[in-house]
Symmetry: C2
Subunit: 607 residues, 2 copies
């Protein structure tokens, strides 16, 4: 039944050879991989206004110069990542670039922050998507959290189905969102220019504002740069592109950068021009759309596509997290299971881990977008800084033709990213401190996992100079509970394997002991029976003691000890609770505490 | 760590031979086995008043004749059960008496309702105990449910420690309660008789009341008879008494009947004389105590001992449920695990099942006593009726000396119990209908379990005319994942057992297949290797197919197939998640779906 539910949700299994069909063309890639970056405009501008609003609405004009700063940062990042794409055509995530150029630990810091960050991508995007919906339908406001969780479940299922099918579903909303926002910005700017919007809604640029400080402006800038989260996605996912992958990826990146710049500046401008004030129940984009179109079809269309693209932005996490996990797992820093492709060729373990972690985060933060964003942004800018710095070192080491402008580009990117990271810690410490706790812990865990795998590899390696211990004979111990077909079955099997078979009977009562020995002698005169007395009604303890004795003797002679445990296989599942499951307990105990082979002999009930 | 927690809570394990020490003398037995019945006076009288109050306070005088009816019922029940004690000296629970005299199904109906009823005993008693506490301390009123649950956990632990130790703890509160209530009744009656209580608090007996009906009076009578729940406990627990058990049990029963009659009539009289009105936040007993003593030490002493005896009344459930479960399990109607004595010689599985079920009931009914009582009472009177009816048949069949008065006694008991049962269904159908649904389901389940055990017994029995299938040889299949020490280990073990060893390698890639075959030929030229290709990255499917083929051939030659599966035993528990647990999956699949022996070969990591 579970199997058929799985089939219904994620489709039939795919053969390994069907992998090639899952590659992305540019149009689909732009949709899948840019939705995170593009959708950030739904909350980025708002973050700037929230900071400025602590001084007062008069400070809102500062959003214009701050936005200019963010656009410069965007340009630097896009150019830097373009170079990474060509330098790492097999996927240049921050982890790979930092590891190769800066060394293991910087690589792990980048990898660790990205892993956590992809989880935050999912959490932030779905909760912002829920915000877009509840801005349009205020009655739904109390249900932000459940709506977010449903979105995560939906995305997880979609991604377990596989990349291409998801892409077809996801491409439309992204383009619809871009078109809707461009129309809104166009109409808004037209209205503003033609004087249809009252001039007195905003304070003119340059108006002096009491209480403004550099600290506050930096904080607003850092907040605004959360609109740039997601620009690295394309450079991580180059192997997903159709050939020629690097060229296609680079073009997609440039297209995304252009779109992002247009949408971001348009929204910042309109928010300023309309004099919009951020509030807890309606997003800034919703207010702009309302002021531009009223609650008409266009308003709901904008809110709808915004919600959709945000939810699908979360999908970037689903593309990136499993790929990063594969890279980390191949280097043995996280469990190997993340390298295994599922039925539909997606890395199911990564997908499922991501979904579960995002839901937990949403629950912990009660689905509140504004609390998740600072953590998210700082987690993005740490790997940004590390990968750009890695590129500087690469250029200095390799010195290819024309390396100087390349170095300058990456150095600019590294410097700005570094400054933004520091700003986050300086201006938003109360919200971002967990990064300083969890990041070292994650890196430590990576190291411990790696150490374990290395030790395991060493222990599994065959050393030709050290011949294996030969097994010269076998002793088989058969615990028996009575004279039944099950026991007959086990004894027959044991005697077919070796002459050294010992049946063991654990008696709770003295009189029982003797009676059983008599019966046994008549029934199986050729099989040795040992009876053990248990004063405490435990079977495991006396049995283990006996096995220890046998094993000591066996080891002297290079004999191997096997314990035969019968297992009832019932016809119906519920019958299992009618049978004492002590065989399972005994098996687990012997296997993990004693070094004996445990052979489970099934006895199938036919009725 | 779990083990030491267990030791701390329930004490050291006891030897089976220490069982005799756990028998009860009369004083302790009265405390343990009567607390249920005696404590019922804390809610029984209140139930009468609640029904009468639907007409008005003027109707309260009817509680006096109703109480007289309840006392007659009590007398009949005590006399009937006294006869059961002597007729069934090994424990005459309603289940045994009904089964032996009326047949299997009436026995199962009695047994089923009692099982559920003991759970209700626990739930009703602890929630009424919580009521007594929150009557004294109204600030605690919102915490009725958590208080009740803590009590259940406490009792479960106590009973896992064993019967005698519980008894010592429990005897004092029961006697303190009896003394406290007798003092209260004495003082109250003295005050009433000497005119210290105003005459105008109650309407005189016989005052005509508008709206009174036979239906309402019967309903009040049925409600009041909930004070008799628990009188059967002694007759079920005769084996727990010191010798001569039946005589001791009978005396204890009479003592209990006497005390119950005194307390019940005293409380009903004082409630009537004081003109007490039932309300949701303070119990009737609390109001009587308050009116008699004010909020002095005596008031808190009465509330305290009431709470204690109610909580300990729940303990009757803990004495009775496991014993009944043993009887049902011996007859194979419930899982055999209920017959196993735990570390402290109590039937731990019964005790734990009872505790868990009671907590679930409390949660479902939100800890509200008044909603649980009707269900509880009807569940008590069904087995009352059945066991008394069983006794009638027994006397008619056996006709011992002086059987006629005995028959009349039991017939009276049966008739009254039957009438009370019918009254419950007629007057409280909306509350007691679940009995009509669950009781048939439980009886059906009993039958299905019995059928299963009978079929199992048949399949396990050795038939001397049908010689066992001999095992003439063995094929051992070793799934291998590479050339490692684990594989070397398994192959060595397998070849020590039989010549027919087949190593199986499942390849996901075609090229891999060939390379591995080459390597294998050099490494283990004497062991046959079969490589299987898996297009769907599943190991289980191709492996199972292969095993099926081998097994078909093996069966023709009376060979037995064993699959050897290596199991990593990691040094630390958390390391387990670093290893693909596919061996566990494969093992479970092969064992339950295919009829092969699965031998698990441990490979212990030393680092």
């Amino acid at each position: 039944m579970l199997t058929s539910l799985k089939r219904l949700l994620i489709g039939r299994p795919l053969k390994s050879t069907e992998l090639g069909e899952q590659k992305l063309n540019k149009t689909k890639a732009l949709a899948i991989l840019s939705s995170d970056a593009l959708s950030s405009v739904a909350y980025g501008p708002e973050q700037i206004l929230i900071v400025l609003f602590t001084i007062g609405a008069a400070a809102f004009w500062y959003s214009i110069p701050i936005a200019a700063g963010v656009l410069i940062l965007l340009t630097a990042l896009i150019l830097s990542y373009r170079q990474i794409i060509y330098a790492y055509p097999h996927g240049g995530g921050a982890y790979v670039v930092s590891r190769d150029n800066l060394g293991k630990n910087p690589g792990l810091i980048a990898g660790g922050s990205l892993l956590v960050d992809y989880i935050l991508t999912v959490a932030v995007s779905v909760s912002a998507g829920a915000d877009a919906i509840t801005s349009a339908f205020p009655a739904l406001h109390p249900y932000n959290l459940p709506i977010s969780i449903v979105f995560v479940l939906f995305l997880t299922t979609l991604n377990l189905r596989g990349v291409t099918e998801s892409a077809s579903v996801l491409a439309y909303p992204v383009y619809l969102f871009v078109v809707a926002l461009i129309v809104m910005i166009g109409v808004g700017v037209y209205n503003s220019v033609t004087g249809h919007v009252p001039e007195n809604l905003h304070t003119p640029i340059g108006t002096p504002v009491a209480g403004i400080s550099l600290f506050l402006l930096l904080k607003a800038f850092a907040s605004g740069s959360s609109a740039l989260t997601g620009v690295e996605a394309i450079s991580n996912a180059i192997p997903n592109f159709k050939d020629p992958a690097p060229r296609n990826a680079s073009r997609t990146l440039m297209a995304m950068g252009g779109l992002l710049a247009i949408l971001f500046s348009g929204i910042v401008f309109l928010a300023y021009y309309y004099g919009i004030t951020p509030n807890a129940t309606e997003t800034v984009v919703s207010q702009i759309a309302d002021d531009t179109f009223g609650r008409t079809f266009m308003y709901f269309f904008i809110q709808g596509t915004t919600a959709l693209i945000l939810v699908l932005a979360a999908n970037t996490g689903y593309s990136a997290f499993p790929l990063l996990a594969v890279n980390l797992a191949k280097d043995k820093f996280i469990p190997r299971m993340f390298t295994i492709r599922g039925d539909r060729l997606g890395y199911s373990n990564g997908i499922i881990t991501l979904g579960v972690a995002a839901i937990l985060l949403l629950i912990v933060f009660n689905g509140k977008t504004e609390h998740l964003i600072p953590l998210y942004a700082v987690g993005v800018f740490i790997p940004f800084t590390l990968s750009q710095t890695g590129m500087i070192l690469k250029w200095m080491r390799e010195k290819p033709q024309g390396w100087v402008p390349k170095l300058i580009t990456n150095a600019t990117g590294a410097l700005i990213s570094f400054i933004v990271t520091i700003m986050f810690f300086l201006t938003k410490f109360p919200q971002v401190w967990p990064v300083l706790v969890f990041l070292p812990l994650i890196v430590l865990l990576f190291h411990r996992i790696k150490t374990h795998y290395d030790l395991v590899g060493e222990q599994l390696r065959i050393n030709p100079n050290q011949p294996p211990k030969l097994v010269e004979g076998n002793v088989i111990i058969v615990p028996v509970a009575g004279i039944t077909k099950v026991v007959e079955n086990s004894i027959n099997f044991a005697t077919s394997l070796t002459d050294q078979v010992i049946a063991v009977y654990v008696a709770f009562e003295r009189e029982d002991e003797h009676a059983f020995e008599e019966k046994w002698k008549k029934w199986q005169p050729n099989v040795r029976l040992v009876t053990l007395h248990s004063s405490y009604r435990s079977i495991i303890m006396p049995l283990t003691k006996f096995i220890d004795t046998v094993q000591n003797k066996a080891e002297e002679n290079n004999y191997r000890v096997t314990v035969l445990i019968p297992q009832f296989i019932t016809k119906k599942n519920w019958h299992n609770i009618l049978h004492n499951q002590s065989s399972l307990l005994i098996r687990a105990y012997l296997l993990f505490k004693r070094d004996v082979v445990v052979a489970t002999v099934p006895f199938r009930f036919k009725k």
